[in-house]
């Protein structure tokens, strides 16, 4: 090559200037509203600031306060419990719905898919207001139905487990159809020849379910577990609308993001809010990693 490589590169870049222009808005925007805030939040995490006065350096005070604040740990615990209460039934129901819809002789598949998916596009604020009415202590329809069956009435929004049940059921209602649609697509992508071959080899329906369906569905299940982990850790609107900024009776509905919101924007502890943001980031990263290991584990020897 007669042209030195550096000149060559500069020439290549110049030649592609229009292409760089085309992709630049994303990187500019990310630098200003993504990268810079992340650096800035690291800085803020070591400072005390109310958003108006001076920022004062306070070292690890924010983080040590966070680690010793029982309310923070309660928020972490609540978030995990609501995540478990919602994710397990949600993915289980989603699998059932997907299997029912996958049966070859079922008609009106599109109609059913739309019906199951509809809750997912509805605004969470609206959903929270509707569920507040369903779970209301005195006049809620849930208590009415329980009364019809002679079950003891529950003051849903006053007892810790009732609060968690209400929040979890909102998540389940909203996301079951979404996950069912994804499982259905996963089921449809398994070649039918595999089942036919298994049948010729004398496999029963149950055997081919555990030997073919479940292993081939594993990546899809992993996807739904990871997305519902990330979503579950970010629960905010439901508890905020249903219970207010303090997470209801005894803080039983206080989630990590609600705590972050209250400390930052209601109490104006901006430095501390940034610290909580980092705490949350670490929890999500660690937890996603563990989940990934568990779900992926056995098949990837």
């Amino acid at each position: 090559m007669p042209v030195p490589p550096k000149r060559q590169l500069a020439k290549e870049i110049w030649k592609n200037r229009a292409v760089y222009t085309a992709i630049s808005p994303f990187y500019l925007l990310f630098a200003v509203f993504g990268l810079f805030p992340i650096g800035f939040s690291l800085y803020l995490a070591f400072h005390k600031w109310d958003g108006i006065g001076e920022m004062t350096f306070n070292g690890f005070n924010n983080s040590s306060y966070m680690l010793t604040d029982p309310e923070f740990w309660q928020a972490v615990g609540n978030t995990f419990m609501i995540w478990i209460y919602s994710t397990i039934p949600m993915l289980f129901f989603a699998l059932i719905v997907a299997f029912l819809l996958h049966a070859p002789f079922i008609r009106f598949k599109t109609f059913f898919r739309i019906g199951f998916f509809l809750p997912n596009v509805t605004s969470i604020v609206a959903v929270s207001i509707i569920f507040a009415a369903l779970f209301a202590n005195n006049y809620g329809i849930l208590n009415y139905v329980m009364g019809v069956f002679n079950l003891p009435l529950v003051a849903w929004l006053d007892v810790p487990w009732g609060i968690k049940a209400a929040l979890s059921s909102m998540v389940i209602w909203r996301w079951t159809g979404y996950n069912a649609v994804i499982y259905l697509a996963g089921l449809q992508s398994i070649p039918t020849t595999l089942y036919e071959a298994a049948k010729i080899d004398g496999a029963t329906g149950i055997q081919s379910f555990f030997r073919i369906t479940i292993p081939l569905l594993r990546p899809v299940i992993l996807f739904t577990v990871i997305t519902s982990t990330i979503g579950g850790m970010q629960l905010f609107t439901e508890p905020q609308i249903l219970l207010g900024n303090n997470g209801g009776t005894g803080g039983a509905g206080m989630t990590i993001v609600l705590y972050l919101y209250r400390e930052s924007f209601i109490n104006n502890y901006f430095g501390y809010g940034a610290t909580v943001g980092w705490g949350m980031f670490l929890i999500i990263a660690l937890f996603s990693f563990i989940n990934w290991k568990i779900v992926q584990g056995p098949s990837s020897k």
Binding site: I124, I129, I130, W173
Partner: protein
């Protein structure tokens, strides 16, 4: 193999029960919005429609500037959607069909940004908005959201398979530059992919709650979700009005979803299955 009538009956029954659970809250929302507040507080609950819908709706309109909040939301969601479609398709097309120095690393950076949770930068983002003087304006809602990694990734996948390279070569032979080729060749071919990305973006912005709650300080600029939450907090003695407002706020979304639902659902599923 013939399925027995019984099996098929059981499967349809399961689906019907699931569908009823899925639809019941919508039904209940409509029932409550046609009732008076004292009806709603009655036990046993009234399970059938009443005649108070217009009355409830007119109270929503007088208590808060519902129409204003509706227009605000429509404006913000439309602006973000149009900008996202433009910028994402431009970048997605470039990544799909052009070779340039640094392409690989730039694309990896793009994918990595999708993994950062937005709450991490919630406080600093607000501070930046305050510094820029954008708190309380629509700029705070529109500008940070006007291009995103997910959409670029989505368009790139679509463009790779759908735009024939010969067509681009032909354009280049005619002396057309990148932007000319984008507008005249790529854009028409990419249009079907816009339906999903557009609906996805629009619904997301329409439903956004946490960020608008933080940056919208002026009542005149409230979006529907914020207006609804205010209604819920301030007027909770007039429950039938709140419920009627809730109904009004989700009707446009549901109509829009029903229009694009078939494509929308299969694209969501396809995005999760490919990777």
């Amino acid at each position: 193999m013939k399925q027995s009538k019984f099996t098929s009956f059981i499967l349809y029954l399961g689906l019907a029960i699931g569908l009823m659970i899925s639809m019941f809250p919508f039904y209940w929302l409509i029932v409550m919005s046609t009732r008076t507040t004292s009806d709603i507080y009655q036990f046993p609950p009234k399970l059938w429609f009443g005649g108070e819908l217009w009355n409830n709706i007119s109270r929503v309109m007088t208590q808060i500037d519902f129409f204003g909040a509706f227009l605000n939301t429509l404006f913000v969601a439309t602006a973000v959607t149009v900008l996202v479609l433009f910028f994402d398709s431009l970048a997605g097309f470039a990544f799909a069909k052009y070779e340039f120095p640094g392409k690989k690393i730039l694309f990896v950076i793009l994918l990595t940004t999708m993994m950062v949770p937005s709450q991490l930068s919630l406080v600093p983002s607000f501070v930046i908005m305050a510094e820029l003087g954008w708190v309380g304006t629509f700029k705070a809602l529109i500008i940070p959201g006007m291009v995103n990694a997910f959409g670029i990734f989505w368009i790139r996948q679509y463009a790779e398979g759908s735009i024939p390279s010969e067509l681009l070569d032909a354009g280049r032979m005619d002396g057309a530059g990148f932007f000319r080729i984008y507008f005249n060749v790529a854009l028409p071919i990419l249009r079907p992919a816009f339906a999903f990305l557009g609906a996805f973006t629009f619904i997301g912005v329409w439903n956004d709650y946490l960020w608008p709650l933080i940056v919208l300080t002026d009542e005149k600029k409230y979006t529907l979700q914020i207006a609804l939450s205010q209604l819920n907090g301030l007027y909770n003695t007039d429950y039938s009005m709140i419920i009627a407002g809730t109904l009004l706020a989700i009707i446009p979304l549901i109509i829009m979803f029903l229009f694009v639902s078939k494509q929308f659902i299969s694209d969501i599923a396809a995005g999760a299955i490919k990777d």
